[in-house]
Structures are given as structure tokens and as C-alpha cells.
């Protein structure tokens, strides 16, 4: 059976005043019905752009999807017309964004924004949509939901806004929910609540989830499979247990080492990855992680490695076998 979503060779660039930014460089992955996929990486490594490309929400210009395909139930999203795409967005694939403070339109009421997709996609009347909206707000845990429909976003707290965003995304029962760093802008306690909420709703509604984050800790609790991105490339991919238990890419190792852990003794310092991710103005000939990599060898500068399987479902793109420190 073909997967729910299959992305092949997706490549997205931005043609800016400062030069060409190679944000996403030929990434491929699949997503099964009901599966939760985590995408991890530092900010600016192409995570968001890769999913925005799927939704065709890249601002053009300056952005452009220059190659690849994204088969959703056999239809290539990258080649649909804008009108066909509007039928997909919100109806089949819905999104929750990073910053709940700016993701809701400040000059319309929450109720108005919440009912919009249902009236559009499901043909509900204003009244039906309002009733449903109240139920949805209730479902995501907003008390006195019916009264709050007439509030404006600024009258909601950050956590409540994100709950409202989730309610909006789920309003048409999509088969894929894309959550683009939905907890990054929130307090730690609220973060955990939102993760639990999405998990519960996923189990109840049976949708697939793509969860993007820079925080490996968050993803451990929710994802089944994890993709690690660096500089617009997928550098490692595998089941969540493999990624945590048997990481094979130096970048994944570094990310894991920078996580705070409860079992660490207090005088151990958190590891920091030296340097900054490149600003992606053009690509080097070799592996882009080389300048920051403690395993780097001369070969790494010559050619960028392809993803190679190391276990079933676990692939890594690195010339070096990090378990031995030698070339593969």
C-alpha cells in the first residue's frame, strides 16, 4: 500500500537580495496513515520551509520550489492548481504554527476565525459552524467556550491561543496535522499540556502528525519516527528508539549531548555545538556539517554523503562510522 504522503527530492530556494538561499536540498521521506513523524534540527535548517513547501505556502517570490514531488494519496501537491490546493489546505492537511501570539488575525474574533474553514470546506451555516466551534474549543480545553467565541485574540493567553489554533486546524478533521514548533513560544508547563493535548487528539481522531521542533526532548514523547535535518538536508532518519539509543550522525550526537538530563550529575556541563549553522547562501561541495564536526575528515569536504541504511528503517548520511570513528 502506498503511504499517505510521499515526498521525493523536495528542493526549495529563496532568491534574496543577499543571494540564493538553499533552504531545502532534495529531501525525501514518507508518512503513513496515522503515523507521527518528528522533524528535528536547529533553527534555520529548513524544517519549516520543507513543510511550508508541501502546503505551497512559500512566499513566491522570493521563494521557489525548484524540484521534487509530494504525493498525497497519489496526487502531487506541488503540481496542483492553486484552487485545487485550497481544497487540500485546512481540509486534508492542516497546520499549527509556532507563535500563537501572531498567528491569529488581531482584528477578527476567535469565533469568526474558527468558523471560517468549516463554513468554507464543510458548507456549514453560520449557526452550525458556531455550535461546532464551541464544541471544538471545549475539546481543546478552553472553559466557557461558547462565551469566548466573541473574544478577540488579544483577550486570550498564549496557551489558549495555541489551543484555539489547534481547534481551528482540527475543525475539518484533516488526515495530516502539521505542527510547526507549536510549543516553542510557550511556557514549559503549557508546552507539556499542548503536547499531551495533541497526543490525545491524535489518538482520538486517528490523524497523521508531522511535528517539527528543535527540541529532541519534546519529540521523544510523541513521535514514532524522527528525521534530523541540517542545512536543508536530511542527515539521519529512523524510529524514535534508534535515534535516541543508537544515533549515527555526529550532528544527532551533538544535539543529544546538548539535552539536559535528569540522570546527569550536576557538575557536568551541557555540551554546546560549536559555531552556528551556515546561512545557506550557496552550498559547499561536501558535507555542510564539516566545519562544526568533531569527526570530520578530509573526505568530508569533497562530496556530500547520501543517506545509507544502517538498520531497518534507520538511515544516516555520513562518511564516518561514529561507533568506530573510521570511514565506512
Amino acid at each position: 500500500m502506498s503511504p499517505l504522503l510521499e515526498v521525493r527530492d523536495l528542493t526549495t530556494r529563496f532568491y534574496t537580495l543577499d543571494g540564493v538561499v538553499c533552504a531545502v536540498n532534495g529531501i525525501s521521506y514518507t508518512l503513513e496513515e496515522g503515523e507521527t513523524l518528528g522533524i528535528v534540527g536547529e533553527s534555520g535548517c529548513g524544517k519549516s520551509v520543507s513543510v511550508l513547501s508541501l502546503m505551497r505556502l512559500i512566499p513566491e517570490p522570493p521563494g521557489r520550489i525548484v524540484a521534487g514531488e509530494a504525493l498525497y494519496r497519489g496526487r502531487d501537491l506541488l503540481r496542483l492548481s492553486e484552487e485545487e490546493m485550497q481544497q487540500i489546505r485546512g481540509r486534508e492537511i492542516a497546520m499549527v504554527f509556532q507563535d500563537p501570539m501572531t498567528s491569529l488575525n488581531p482584528v477578527f474574533t476567535v469565533g469568526d476565525q474558527l468558523t471560517e474553514p468549516m463554513r468554507l470546506h464543510l458548507g456549514m451555516s453560520r449557526k452550525e459552524a458556531r455550535e461546532r466551534a464551541a464544541e471544538l474549543l471545549e475539546m481543546v480545553g478552553i472553559p466557557r467556550a461558547a462565551e469566548r467565541l466573541d473574544d478577540y485574540p488579544h483577550q486570550f493567553s498564549g496557551g489558549m491561543r495555541q489551543r484555539a489554533m489547534i481547534a481551528m486546524a482540527l475543525s475539518c478533521s484533516p488526515s495530516i496535522l502539521i505542527a510547526d514548533e507549536p510549543t516553542t513560544a510557550l511556557d514549559v508547563t503549557i508546552q507539556a499540556q499542548i503536547v499531551d493535548l495533541v497526543k490525545a487528539l491524535r489518538d482520538r481522531l486517528g490523524m497523521a502528525v508531522i511535528w517539527i521542533t528543535h527540541d529532541l526532548g519534546v519529540i521523544a514523547g510523541i513521535a514514532e519516527r524522527v528525521i534530523v535535518m541540517y542545512a536543508g538536508f536530511i542527515v539521519e532518519e529512523g524510529p524514535v528508539g534508534e535515534i535516541y539509543g543508537n544515533p549515527r550522525h555526529p550532528y544527532t550526537l551533538a544535539l543529544l549531548a546538548s539535552l539536559p538530563r535528569v540522570d546527569r550529575t550536576s557538575n557536568q556541563r551541557l555540551a554546546v555545538i560549536p559555531g552556528l549553522p551556515p546561512d545557506l547562501l550557496g552550498l559547499p561541495p561536501g558535507c555542510p556539517f564539516t566545519p562544526r564536526c568533531s569527526y570530520a575528515r578530509p573526505e568530508c569536504r569533497e562530496k556530500n554523503p547520501d543517506l545509507q541504511p544502517v538498520h531497518s528503517g534507520h538511515r544516516v548520511a555520513c562518511w564516518v562510522d561514529v561507533t568506530t570513528g573510521r570511514l565506512r
Partner: protein
Amino acid sequence: MATTEVTWEVFEEQAERPPLTPAQVAWRRFRRHKMALAGAGILIAIFLYIFIGSLVFSEADANYNDLSVRLSPPSWEHPFGTDTTGRDILARTIYGGQISIIVGVLAVVVSLIVGTLIGAIAGYYGGVVDSILMRFTEAVFNIPQLFLLIILAKMFGGKIPTFQFLGRSFSGSVIVIIGVIGLTSWMYLARIVRANFLALREQEFVTAARCAGARNTTIIFEHILPNSIAPIVVAATLDVASAILSEAYVSFLGLGVQPPTATWGNMLDQAYHHLETEPWMWFFPGMLILLTVLGINFLGDGLRDALDPRALAETG
């Protein structure tokens, strides 16, 4: 499609070095801003016109009356035609341009001094001083500028005699107009400077300077002002354009720089009476004003984009 391969040197620079300094980013953006470059190009052309032109024609040429050729249309001898007293319009636009631009720039210097002083004092001291100064600023801001210009130009008109400078004689009205325009256009600058001071004075580096025993004036001029320079530069650039326009308005109404000193504005003084039959008399000076102001506006727009702090975070 543009090639995106880069060398390792460039790439490693990107990866290892901290990002470019704001000044470097600004310069990079400015260079790639087509309109800013076009604006700079127009302005260079205008400067060449008025400076090289003044080597070809003397100021005496510009003020030479020849009634036998008065009001003649453009010809080989007088490419832009002649005016009511037979003066060559081409030569007059050259010398008029010098005065117009000097007036524009110096008027902005005056408004910069007044605006920065008032804004800095209000923003730095706050409290009663701030309220009084800002009330005054708001009051002047609410009077349409041209009304103030007319009143002040009439008030000071004819009070300063003709003077000699660098071997040339200038009508005292040049000084009057510079002062008058400067004194009617400082309010916006004062507000920017004040807002920046209010925001900056609470910041740590100012507290640090104060703890180190720096005096108020030192703090204002050495610590705070340099940090609010970008919006001031942009506003001042654009203000030169409005100052040149203001000079033209006042002169058009007959209250500006007095003849024989030519400016682009006062060459248009009598334009209305020559609307139908001698269009060359008003077309060329107006066109030069338009080009100069356009060039400055382009440049200011480019500077604004280049210095916009939000632009620094744009890529990534």
C-alpha cells in the same frame, strides 16, 4: 538558474564567523538596492551639471541682461531659452541649482541641530522639561508648514543685507530662507530623537556609563546619539528633498531668495504669467527640482531599507 556552488573558504567563513556587522549588512543591502543606486546616479549627474556648468558659464553670464533677446525660445545659443530680461536660463539653472541645493542641505543642518537638541533634552531629562518641550513641538507640528513658512519668510524678509562669501555675493535672503525652512521642519526629527532617547536611556550601557561617572552631555553625545543615528540619517536625507521643495514653494510665492541671486524656485516666480507662451521659462527649473528631489527620495528609500534593523534578521 544561478549556480549555488560556493567554495569552502566562503562557506567556512559563514559557518564559523559571527554574522556580518550591521554596517556591513547595510552596505551590502544598499549596493544591491537598484533604486538607491539610480538615486545616487541622478544626484551625481545633477552635481556634475551644476559644478562643471559653473566652470563653463560665469555667474556674470547667469545674471547678464540682454533685453534684445528677451523671452526667446530655446535655440543653439540659449538651449533653455531666455527670461523676461534676456538672461540665459541654462546658466541660471546652473547657479540656481547651487543655491537651491545649498539651501536644502543647510536648512536640514539647522533643523537637525534644533531637532536633535530639543529631542535629546526632552528624552534625556524627561519629566517637566519633556512635557514642556513636547507640548511646544506638538504645537508647531500642528500648524501647516507652508503657513508658518509664509509668516516667517515675510517676518525676516529683507532684514539681512547682501553679503560676500568666497568672492561671490549672495542675497541676504538666502540666509533667511535657510533659517526659516530649518525652523519649520525640525519637529519630526525631535520626535525620533526623543523616542530613541527614552528607549535607550533605560538600557544597560547607559546605566553603566552613568555608574562610571560620565557627565550628562558625555552620555548624550557619546553614548546615546550614536545609537539613534540610523533613523536620523534617513529622516535627514529625505528632509533635504522637502527643504528643496519648500524653498521652491516660498520662492514661487515671491517670498524666497531675492534676485539677482537665482534659485530653481525663484526662477519659477513669474511662471504663471508665462504659462501659455513661454513654457521653457518654467519647464526647465521645475524639471531640475523634480529630478533632484526624486534622486534624494530614491537615495533615502535605499538608506532606509539598508539601515532597517529588521532587515538584519530577514535571512536565516
